[in-house]
């Protein structure tokens, strides 16, 4: 599986570390909101198909990336920097 890093180009996935579901992990609720915080820490959609996930390019530019990947066949559909995704989200809200 190769991931096209926006900075470094296409690289084998052993250069990266994967953290998990980007949509779940990038929406950190306040700690006082117990139920939401429980969801955030533990519950995952774990879909079969398209999945947006956080990958860290440890063996390259050391940027956090949001990779949209198909969990059924490992096709990488798109790669954005997590920073851009977060900024877009902020701008939208």
């Amino acid at each position: 599986m190769r991931i096209g890093c926006p900075y470094c180009g296409e690289r084998w996935n052993d250069e990266f570390i994967v953290l998990g579901d980007a949509d779940a992990l990038m929406k950190r609720p306040g700690e006082a909101q117990f139920a939401l915080f429980y969801d955030y820490v533990y519950l995952r959609d774990n879909p079969a198909g398209r999945h947006r996930e956080l990958w860290y390019h440890q063996g390259g530019c050391r940027q956090w990336l949001v990779v949209t990947r198909d969990t059924l066949n490992h096709t990488v559909h798109s790669v954005e920097t997590a920073r851009c995704v977060a900024q877009d989200r902020e701008a939208a809200s």
């Binding site: 996935n13 994967v18 998990g20 533990y42 519950l43 995952r44 774990n46 879909p47 969990t71």
Partner: protein, 457 residues
């Protein structure tokens, strides 16, 4: 797993045989047809092997039926892997529920029960785990007689190596934890390990072998024979095993489970147990449940067959690698999961490299062997690395999942406890710690101490 091809062959041939027999109609000379449409009650023994050996094997009957789904069952188990089949077996045997179906989307044994590296052991550390896995080991010890099926339970011993002083402390602690729970553990020094496995790299510059923790009662079991043995045992007690029947929906009314939609129509039941291993999240989502689980791939490998080389199961302590030898002679081994979410039953090259590097560091002679096969299976990795056998917020819906890469050894106890949980609508003491809501209440069972990061367990 070993013998991938033979699994396919044998399950197909059972089905083909059943078809053949059906087409022959009820006029078979020896009256076997009634065994197929009714219950296949043939008892396996030395005598039956001799008799069939001398008569060309013509008297063997299918090990289980291929029934049509009924409109309603007292309980439905979704998933015909080891855990689902064992659950049905113990529901029938221990709880007298016999109007049960196991609904399996493929053929039984096509999931992880037929893909694992067959290791059984109960050398755990934490209180919630040790009694459960020990119960499982005890059930393994009596399984073949219980289900009248040869599953080749081989208690050849499991050795966990350690490579430093702090590693040694860790394993001594684990051994002590086991002994507190009444599970025998033995400490091996360097020479002790050498007496079992002289070929290991004891003087490796980076990770020399200092000793090991031995559990003699651990070992291996022929994985697919476990599925077949439980299937046959359940079938004999009246359980319908519905193969090639995919569950596509779970119907819930007023907070109560009422049945499942399948590729062969709707089937009603007030008790539905999910035992779908790597697909647990997808099936639970049909009832609107989100689980603390990610699906990951674990790969395994088999070398060419060689004469007996290694008599125990040996686990490397400085990386993730474990190895044993199958009865066919192939070395069976594996290591880490790949680490990213996936439902594709195949992995990537860097994990393969990683496994082989660890293997070579522990046992340099491995480099002289050729590899025969490699495959992957989808793991239900839970957020604390421990399983879930539990009630759910939906009445009559039960989950059995989160087995990570270690659920094969749990198969008997998992089925035993799940059956209890479903029949009594409450967990047994042995699975009381495996509640689904433990993540909300903070009662995690985190053997590795790595937190809510499934790919680290």
């Amino acid at each position: 797993m070993e013998f991938v091809d033979s699994i396919v062959l044998s399950s197909c041939s059972v089905a083909a045989y059943a078809r053949l027999k059906r087409s022959e109609g009820s006029a078979t000379p020896d009256g076997e047809f009634s065994l197929i449409s009714g219950l296949a009650l043939m008892h396996y023994s030395l005598w039956s092997v001799l008799r069939e050996g001398l008569s060309g094997g013509r008297g063997w009957t299918p090990a289980w039926r291929d029934p049509e789904p009924k409109a309603e069952y007292d309980a439905i188990i979704v998933g015909g892997g080891g855990h689902g089949l064992a659950s049905a077996y113990y529901l029938a045997k221990n709880h007298g529920l016999t109007n049960i179906a196991v609904v399996e989307k493929g053929y039984i044994g096509s999931g992880n029960v037929g893909r694992n590296t067959t290791i059984i052991r109960s050398n755990y550390l934490l209180p919630g785990n040790i009694p459960f896995y020990e119960h499982s080991l005890k059930l393994w010890e009596g399984l073949e007689q219980d289900v009248n099926y040869n599953s080749m339970v081989s208690q050849r011993g499991v050795i966990n190596l350690f490579h430093s002083d702090s590693d040694r402390d860790r394993y001594v602690r684990r051994g002590n934890a086991m002994m507190f729970e009444g599970v025998k553990a033995e400490y091996l020094d360097r020479e002790g390990v050498r007496s079992f496995a002289p070929f290991l790299d004891f003087d490796n510059a980076r990770f020399p072998i200092h000793g090991g923790l031995l559990q003699r009662r651990g070992g291996t079991v022929r994985h697919d024979a476990v599925a077949w043995g439980y299937a046959r045992g359940a079938d004999q007690r009246g359980v319908d095993i519905l193969q090639n029947t995919e569950v596509t929906g779970i119907k819930v009314e007023h907070g109560k489970a009422v049945g499942v939609e399948t590729s062969r129509g709707f089937i009603r039941s007030k008790k539905i147990g999910l035992a779908c291993a790597g697909n647990s999240s997808r099936v639970a989502a049909m009832a609107g449940l989100r689980l603390p689980i990610e699906s990951h791939v674990l790969q395994a490998f088999v070398s060419e067959g060689v004469k007996p080389l290694i008599n125990q199961v040996i686990l490397y302590g400085a990386g993730h690698f474990y190895i044993s030898q199958s009865d066919k002679g192939g070395l069976v081994f594996g290591g880490d999961i790949d680490g990213y979410n996936t439902y594709a039953q195949r992995g990537n090259l860097y994990t393969i490299e990683d496994v082989f590097e660890a293997g070579m560091a522990m046992w340099p002679g491995l480099g002289r062997l050729r590899m025969l096969r490699q495959w992957g299976g989808i793991m239900d990795m839970s957020m604390d690395g421990s399983p879930i056998i539990s009630l759910t917020p939906i009445d009559g819906l039960y989950v059995n999942c989160g087995w990570c890469y270690g659920g094969f050894k749990a198969t008997p106890a998992s089925g035993w406890c799940f059956a209890h949980t479903i029949a009594r609508n409450e967990p047994h003491q042995l699975n009381a710690a495996y509640r689904l809501d433990r993540f909300a209440t903070g009662h995690l069972i985190d053997e590795r101490g790595t937190g809510a990061q499934p790919n680290q367990h």
